[in-house]
């Protein structure tokens, strides 16, 4: 069984491009060109140079000694928090901005939840001198204020999404509407492995640098290229996709995907798509999503803006359905405690998204000899207010 995308844009039964005709030319243009462009040596050179000199790659693979001691196993953190702008999101935006330029686009739009993708998009737009519009749910604008300020500094226009749950899902709707209205000059930089084909595959490929590095970095540390486990949080699933990518077809490497249980799976305030979701269509892709019996998309909830999304990318839907990855849900409280624990043990303030992944060490027991790579998808600077208020520091 392959866990990668097929020619038609599907992962197993998930994926595809369920888009209004108005988007067809744009998406089709991308579909026809993305692999060709990505294969161009000039593209590769520019992409890799920027990842190195601008983003600061390779991001370290850090052996977390005190965390490992506490949980009596071997935990490596893949330090995407050290990337320029503070999360894995920029791997993708660098790739997509180069793509957009080659497609002759002059105007860039994006959706954002935690604001990391918005900042990463605003950043590459500044770098390339392109106009940038970012849609962001009104609630996320309030809870991720530092990132809103950063986008403004970078010259992006931040437009609040006022409909629905006023979070990532609604920001995505608004971005799609913008793209429909601006079909010629605009490229939509989607921030995760969601959306119509070829987005999930394209974003996964741009993020795959994460697992590419893990292979040779692990070799330096452990004299082997594959870990026993790869763990990542899943909002849309891009950091997980990047961390899994080169291990997808190697079943020796166990994959763990961590979702946000919010106030509890059965609380009605959750974003644990694999448990609560059913097959359906969201944002142009057939995948798992949280919805009513009637097919109305549910308003999700998580303390973490980046996980507060009612779907997961089609790759992850397939990994779940096929059993290739284990899915675990983590509540707000568990995540917050794990986030603070990393601060205290390792001197690293994680994004609350990443803190969800960290919380699994309280849930699942590993062997002392297990080599675990956890994708630390972002830093917690954007979440300081949430942490401080939560812990009353």
């Amino acid at each position: 069984m392959s866990y990668n995308v097929n020619k038609k844009g599907y992962y197993g039964e998930f994926g595809g491009a369920y888009i209004p005709e108005m988007l067809y030319p744009n998406v089709e243009e991308l579909r026809q060109n993305y692999l060709k462009i990505m294969a161009e040596p000039e593209f590769q050179k520019e992409f890799n140079q920027l990842l190195k000199d601008y983003v600061g790659r390779p991001s370290p693979l850090y052996f977390a000694k005190r965390l490992s001691e506490k949980y009596n196993t071997k935990i490596y953190l893949k330090r995407e928090d050290l990337n320029h702008t503070g999360a894995h999101k920029i791997n993708n935006t660098i790739g997509q901005i180069l793509m957009a330029k080659r497609l002759g686009k002059t105007r860039i739009i994006a959706e954002t939840g935690a604001g990391q993708h918005g900042v990463a998009t605003a950043t590459v737009c500044a770098l390339m001198g392109l106009e940038c519009i970012v849609y962001m749910g009104e609630i996320d604008i309030a809870r991720q204020a530092p990132n809103v300020a950063r986008m403004k500094m970078l010259g992006a226009k931040v437009i609040p999404a006022l409909s629905g749950s006023k979070t990532l899902k609604d920001a995505t709707n608004e971005a799609i509407r913008d793209w429909i209205n601006n079909p010629v000059d605009t490229h939509y930089i989607i921030g995760s492995v969601v959306g119509p084909h070829p987005y999930p595959d394209m974003v996964a490929r741009f993020q795959s640098v994460v697992s590419e590095e893990i292979q040779w970095q692990l070799k330096e540390h452990e004299s082997k290229t594959k870990p026993d486990y790869v763990i990542a949080c899943v909002g849309g699933g891009s950091n997980a996709a990047g961390a899994y990518y080169h291990f997808l077809d190697d079943e020796d490497v166990k994959l763990i995907a961590v979702e946000a249980a919010g106030k509890g799976i059965n609380s009605g305030e959750s974003a644990a798509t694999s448990v609560l979701g059913k097959e359906g269509i969201i944002h142009g892709s057939k995948t798992l999503l949280m919805q009513t019996n009637d097919g109305q998309i549910t308003e999700p909830y998580s303390i973490s803006a980046g996980l507060d999304y009612p779907g997961i990318g089609p790759m992850h839907a397939h990994l779940y359905k096929s059993g290739r990855a284990e899915f675990i849900s983590i509540t707000d409280d568990e995540a917050m405690i794990a986030g603070l624990e990393l601060c205290k043990l390792e001197g690293i303030i994680p994004a609350i998204e990443s803190a969800h992944a960290l919380a699994i060490f309280e849930q699942k027991v590993f062997n002392p000899n297990d080599v675990i790579v956890l994708c630390l998808s972002g830093r917690g600077d954007k979440d300081l207010n949430t942490y401080i208020n939560y812990f009353k520091l």
């Binding site: 409909s163 609604d170 269509i281 009637d294």
Partner: protein, 254 residues
């Protein structure tokens, strides 16, 4: 013969109206349909509301949200339409996003449409090729016409393909945009309408998006078979409820 095909044969410019089922009040559906027919409308798109209507502008979005709040569901809509053919003769289409239909079950949905007398479907996010490969047979089995959209950016080749798998009309999006975001047509649009007309397609074209009054209706139908009004009618409903529907319709066709 399907009511849509029959209607398209009439020697006139067709006026089609979209409204969101369950808006402004949950039980307005049949009243609105009846009033529209009585006011001389040729065809109606009944909107099945969706939580995330990403091809729609703020007006239709807001009406969908309100309709869902009011309690509209797929089952309820079919319930409301159960007896519609006792009073209404013009073609009725359901316009809705694919996910609610998928959850209902595409086969069940088509069957039910047929039972209550729906003539066609417009599903903006059901792609042409997926329809063609997976659902065409089902739709046809239940006598439903599926309507595809084209836009000014749609390639010639693709328009021909869409024409080849259509058996009713082609929904011609006036300009690349979500619903409700245009005011008036310029030269660009007129050229586009004419360009398509000159293709002599098998299926007639009906223009949607941006038609709000007599002037835009006339512009839109100069080279086409008809036009669809959505947001402008939703605005009328917000302001006046189900009252004075006939004066709204008359203001369009004069």
């Amino acid at each position: 013969m399907n009511r849509i095909n029959k209607k398209l044969k009439e020697n006139k410019k067709l006026l089609s109206i979209y409204f969101t089922a369950g808006y402004p009040n949950l039980e307005d559906t049949t009243t609105i349909i009846q009033n529209l027919e009585q006011s001389g409308v040729d065809m109606i798109e009944v909107g099945l509301p969706f939580s995330d209507p990403l091809a729609d502008g703020p007006t239709i979005q807001a009406s969908s949200t309100q309709a869902l709040k009011n309690g509209m569901t797929t089952n309820l809509l079919f319930e409301q339409l159960k007896e519609i053919r006792n009073t209404v003769n013009i073609p009725l289409l359901i316009m809705g996003y694919f996910n609610p239909i998928l959850q209902y079950g595409v086969e069940d949905f088509c069957k039910k449409c047929n039972e209550v007398g729906i003539d066609g479907l417009i599903i903006p996010d059901l792609p042409v090729d997926v329809y063609n490969e997976q659902y065409k047979a089902t739709f046809e089995k239940h006598g439903l016409i599926n309507v595809f959209l084209i836009t000014p950016q749609t390639s010639l080749e693709r328009i021909n393909f869409i024409d080849s798998i259509s058996n009713g009309f082609i929904y011609m999006v006036s300009s690349a945009s979500v619903t409700g975001s245009q005011s008036g047509f310029g030269k660009e649009q007129t050229n586009y309408f004419k360009r398509i007309a000159d293709m002599n397609l098998n299926n007639p074209q009906i223009v949607g998006f941006g038609i709000s009054n007599n002037e835009t209706f006339k512009q839109a139908t100069q080279h086409t078979k008809g036009a669809i009004i959505g947001s402008a009618f939703i605005k009328h409903l917000s302001n006046e409820g189900v009252n004075r529907i006939d004066s709204f319709v008359k203001s369009i066709r004069l």
